[in-house]
Amino acid sequence: MLRLDQLAVGYGAPRGTVVSGLDVTLAPGSFVCVLGRNGAGKSTLMRTIAGLQGALAGAALLEDEPIAAMRPQARARRIAVVLTERLSSPGLTVDDVVAMGRSPFTDWRGRLSADDRALAGAALDTAGAAPFSGRLFDDLSDGERQRVMIARAIAQTPRLMVLDEITAFLDLPGRVETMALLRNHARSSGAVVLLSSHDLDLSLQLADSVWLLDGRGGMKTGTAQDLIAAGDIGRAFDTAAVRFSARLGRFELVP
């Protein structure tokens, strides 16, 4: 269970507070999409919830424990992160990368037990990355690498997965598959899966609930239908040239 308690995220001056007053509770097994325009604070929020950056006020709590107060190793055992950054790691194999998901659980030498190996293998299967086993990570395409990074996060057996714009480099079938597998993983593992994305229509179709950053420091939460019906999507995304049509469920050009 993930709970935000009056959480405010952001930076020191000059950027200051980005989003504040967040009060949400998510049940285990939830698949939640975080939406908002560029600069609305998606990444800042994701990093803060993942414990990679401090909160300005309030707290994010995982199973009633403040994430910011967790020791790094304890946090790594419960929270996994996938980012959009393009990595180059010459010489690392796919199996090395996935096995790193077990590193919060291994001894100081990082030796894998039979259980660790089994979990890493199962994670490769779950993420659809099993065919890449034995290859060099750098030889994979962007989409394939992203699957391996998801497998690594699954191998970490987290209670919370934070995935920041990971579908950015994927083609449409890749995006649908990735989001579907994450939703299934949330269901089957009971982990909370928090995914920020620019894929508005996919997110609205697949998410159990949506966190919508309005770009003015606030956030609306609810099911896709509720947010569409209340006109919140339009308020967050409409520009002079483009607007969200609640009737069509997609954007249209302003005539």
């Binding site: 993942a50 990679l52 790094p72 190793q73 304890a74 946090r75 790594a76 055992r77 929270i79 996994a80 992160v81 980012l83 950054e85 990595l87 180059s88 790691s89 010459p90 010489g91 690392l92 194999t93 199996d95 090395d96 990368v97 790193m100 998901g101 590193s103 919060p104 291994t106 100081w108 030498r109 990082g110 086993s133 034995g134 290859r135 060099l136 750098d138 970490q156």
Partner: protein
């Protein structure tokens, strides 16, 4: 299991094979030189049963030099693995990023300061020569390492490398001026220093060389797991529970411990730290730091020893320096890395 093979198995076989080849090469090197000594006589000398003349050549002249080459090669090889992991840069190493130059500058300044401070300082420095020049090198390397680590946050891989090489040339210029003033104190230290040289180390110096290196090895092994996590990027490493700031400090400390005594006693030994990690990765079939440490130590030692064997060939009248030999092997490899490696091509 896979086309790449099992990295554990490959590392174990590679480590064993390298250890055997290194031992055989070391025995060969003990018999090799202006005066050829047969292998049987080398054995006899090592257990104290040889002809006194041969025994003296083997144990007093050649053994310290060969032990130095092995320790130095191992230290520089591991230093290279640490630097490449820390900077996430396949051509990083203590020499290419100018840390070795920092160490030279530290020693040169220390010796100059003593030379200008009068006889008491000179006498003090001479009686604690090993400790003080190693300390001077550590200080210089630490300062340059921190500077390069902070520069690495702002510039690209190639820029960093060029800055490092320029630092090396600058320091070489400074050192040649300094040596002129400091010869009274630093004569032995500085002989052949700019070319790299394993022959200046005497048996009594070996502990001062080996103890910091051993400490650096322990620190490297202790940090192998978090350094492996750092290979996939700083944010991922943090998300896996790594304290990245602490890891940086410990890794730089290990590099200082490994490289400073070598720089102090042998001068700037080039290329070993830069190319050895690439051999090790090719043997292991992985970039995980754990398996790379023994492989790099052994291949570094082997490379250093092989270069030293060429330098001391009986037909050779010391016109080939250690660094000239290393450059003949190392420079083409670095050029190939820059030109053919997909990760290096096109980087600023």
């Amino acid at each position: 299991m896979t086309p790449a093979g099992n990295p554990e198995l490959r590392s174990a076989i590679g480590t064993g094979a390298l250890a055997i080849v290194l031992a055989a090469t070391a025995l060969f090197a003990l018999g090799w030189g202006m005066i050829a000594i047969p292998a049987g006589e080398v054995f006899a000398a090592l257990v104290g049963e040889a002809d006194p003349m041969n025994a003296q050549i083997v144990t007093q002249l050649r053994l310290p030099r060969i032990a130095t080459a092995i320790v130095a090669g191992a230290a520089l090889g591991i230093g290279g693995v640490l630097m490449q992991a820390l900077f996430r840069n396949p051509i990083a190493d203590a020499w290419s990023l100018g840390l070795t130059a920092g160490g030279q500058l530290g020693v040169a300044l220390l010796v100059t300061a003593a030379a200008f401070s009068g006889p008491a300082a000179i006498a003090f420095l001479q009686s604690f020569e090993g400790v003080s020049i190693t300390f001077g090198a550590m200080l210089g390397i630490a300062v340059f390492a921190l500077a390069m680590a902070s520069l690495a946050r702002r510039v690209g891989t190639i820029t960093l490398l060029v800055v490092g090489l320029m630092l090396g040339f600058t320091v070489q210029g400074i050192v040649s001026v300094v040596i002129h003033f400091a010869n009274r104190v630093g004569g032995r230290v500085f002989s052949g220093w700019n070319d790299g040289n394993f022959a200046g180390v005497q048996a009594a110096d070996l502990p001062m060389l080996a103890i910091p290196v051993a400490a650096g090895l322990v620190l490297a092994a202790w940090n192998a797991k978090p350094l492996t996590a750092l290979l996939i990027g700083e944010t991922y490493a943090r998300s896996l529970g790594t304290d990245v700031a602490r890891l940086r400090r410990l890794t730089l400390a290990a590099v200082v411990l490994l490289v400073a005594p070598i720089t102090a006693y042998c001068g700037p030994v080039t290329f070993i730290g830069l190319i050895v990690p690439h051999f090790a990765r090719a043997i292991a079939g992985t970039a995980r730091i754990g398996p790379l440490l023994p492989l790099s130590a052994l291949s570094g030692a082997l490379l250093a020893l092989a270069a030293d064997i060429v330098v001391h060939a009986p037909w050779e009248q010391h016109f080939l320096h250690l660094n000239a030999v290393l450059a003949l092997v190392g420079a083409p490899i670095v050029i190939a890395l820059l030109v053919f490696s997909p990760t290096m091509r096109g980087q600023g």
